[in-house]
Symmetry: C2
Subunit: 384 residues, 2 copies
């Protein structure tokens, strides 16, 4: 019987690396359906998506994805372990039996690692290092070797989520090639570049477009050119305003605000000269306990005005939002719909906006301030 492969993705933007991954899946599991759990307009690493979720969904559907669902923004603002748990439970609820993901070390037996470190935590109370670093130290102690590459760590987070859920998925790590996650340069002759290298090098000039062409499907390049290409540069003035205009008690209610970091954030922000950008702001606010990514993610929570309670409400009652599907995706939906443990939304009604989808709707409205396109109201899933 044909199976169902799950993929967790951002597609920020959709490039050749993503294309090859989907093609490899089709080769390895030619009869399987591919479900992509994609972050919406704000991403777990703490930034707005460069193109909106509909554009990126369309790109995925044109390149072998059968069904694209949105990882709710309340999953995306959480740290890796919780983000991974959200993604894996959502894919499993949609009937996935495999999870394919890129890893720096595809030879790792992630499930066996996960079983060993399931009970391992970092030390929350070490004030001179970040939780992430202390967690890595604990893992190393348990496994006898480090797991410290970004995709390996995310793979381990998926594996732990899978373990917690009773291992509904078989894990298939795929070796990442040619580029590292953090590599921001384009390598001549290569066909794959990191998404951040592509974003960093993108501009509207013809020359840039020619330079980027080897690394992206043509449709993705066209989408980038059509844009609008959104970044922290756009949202930074709003974030800054939000930080200086909030009183400290309200700032303290934002999800992820801990250890009194709101005092530091507000004070530093009040003091900064007006010509700094988001990147400089993070570096100014950073401490040994709060890494760049941690603060960037916190910045998304501040920008979107997300409270601790809203995140807890999502964690206790997750849901699925359809972004698009082809014929096979639709069949898979019909198969699982009846027994799916989570509600599946295909549209956002007036009531949904005020209830379970309120935060996604709010995030969409904020994204729309620069993207200009309605993200939720009256938007139906893309039928491919």
């Amino acid at each position: 019987m044909a199976g169902v492969v799950g993929v967790v993705a951002e597609y920020n933007p959709f490039h050749n690396g993503h294309l090859y991954q989907l093609q490899q899946i089709k080769q390895a599991f030619p009869d399987d359906i591919i479900i992509v759990a994609m972050s919406g307009n704000f991403l777990q690493r703490g930034e707005p998506a460069c193109l909106d979720k509909w554009t990126r969904t369309q790109e995925a559907l044109q390149n072998d994805a059968d069904l694209v669902v949105e990882l709710p923004v309340l999953a995306c603002v959480q740290p890796a372990d919780r983000f991974a748990f959200g993604a894996v439970s959502l894919l499993s609820a949609l009937g996935a039996d495999k999870l394919v993901f890129g890893a720096e070390h595809s030879s790792y037996d992630f499930m066996s690692f996960a079983r060993k470190v399931a009970g391992v935590h970092g030390e929350f109370h070490k004030y001179d290092e970040s939780y992430a670093r202390s967690f890595q130290t604990a893992i190393k102690k348990e496994l006898g070797h480090a797991v410290d590459q970004p995709n390996d760590l995310l793979g381990l987070a998926y594996a732990k989520a899978n373990y917690r859920l009773g291992e509904p998925l078989d894990l298939f790590p795929v070796q990442r090639v040619e580029t590292s996650y953090h590599d921001q340069s384009l390598h001549k002759g290569a066909q794959i570049a990191s998404a951040s290298a592509i974003r960093k090098n993108f501009s509207l000039s013809k020359k840039t477009q020619k330079k980027l062409a080897p690394y992206l499907p043509q449709v993705s390049l066209n989408d980038l050119v059509e844009g609008p290409f959104v970044s922290w540069d756009d949202f930074w003035p709003l974030l800054r305003y939000k930080v200086v205009s909030s009183n400290l008690a309200d700032l303290g209610q934002i999800y992820g605000m801990s250890e009194g970091i709101e005092y530091r954030i507000q004070e530093q922000t009040q003091r900064l000269p007006l010509d700094i950008n988001f990147d400089m702001w993070v570096k100014k606010v950073k401490t040994k306990r709060f890494t760049y990514t941690h603060l960037a993610r916190l910045a998304v929570a501040i920008l979107l005005n997300i409270s601790e309670q809203e995140v807890q409400a999502y964690n206790s009652e997750p849901y699925i939002r359809l972004l698009g599907f082809g014929g096979d995706g639709r069949k898979q939906l019909s198969r699982v719909k009846k027994n799916c443990p989570f509600p599946i939304y295909s549209r956002v009604s007036q009531d949904d906006r005020k209830e379970q989808l309120a935060v996604d709707y709010r995030a969409g409205k904020i994204y729309q301030l620069f993207n200009g396109v309605e993200q939720d109201a009256k938007r139906a899933p893309i039928v491919f």
Copy 2:
């Protein structure tokens, strides 16, 4: 014995009309000291000041004002009656025995009007007209004639405040000449234009400067040119973000939010195309119950994140903030300091920023986002 004249002003910007008023006071009361209670960076009619409070203070001191104090932003976001009460009590606390103000009908006996209408209120529960209009109807019934011109109404509000305070001030209405409050055009050959006409016609072109020169002291024109000239155009994107990013419960906590207008405000704002401006926004949100000015003032409260509690705290414990003084102003300060019923701040300490001056400090930080100049921390009063 020499007396003390109080003036309530915005100086947005300081023009010939203001200059003549101060000169007239000097003529009428040559030995008196002039104290100006000036709105800070956000004004009671619901807009940011075009130039910051320090620049406008300097202009006033150069033109016969002896002492300039700031009307705290928490006074400025309140409706006319409460705004007037804040201004009159502050001037009286500083020893003023006269209040000079412009009026469309300087022949009115404002104090006698005030005594007659002291107990008169509008009907809050008439859902098809604004409170302001219903109040005017009630006044007309009581007095036998309308009081419906903007400066006359403000004069009546001062008189009512004075009545409530036991009439510490003698009122001197001065006939407004040559221009009406709402007149937005410049009249050739005239020397006075309304502040809004000046703001509306201002631009950085040499031609504009020449056109405006007859209506302003040279120093004011220079200040406008030096700028930065701030307006709702600057703050509008932040206001819009604030409205769409807030949840309704928080929006409902903003000072002045009543009758569920927050629902209408958020819904209309979510729906509007991206290319509208502040003015179009107000017109879209307006109802029969909420006038343009009412909504503009509410917009300032939203932008500055001012809560009902913060306003109540100010009303029960007012304070005075010094912006600048000359020799006579300093002498007046020494005279009243000891027995002044309100605390007088000359600087904003670290603690003040978190305590009584927190909202002024916040408003300053928000204004600074476009003005670029620190408004409070380490700023001492201007000594002229």
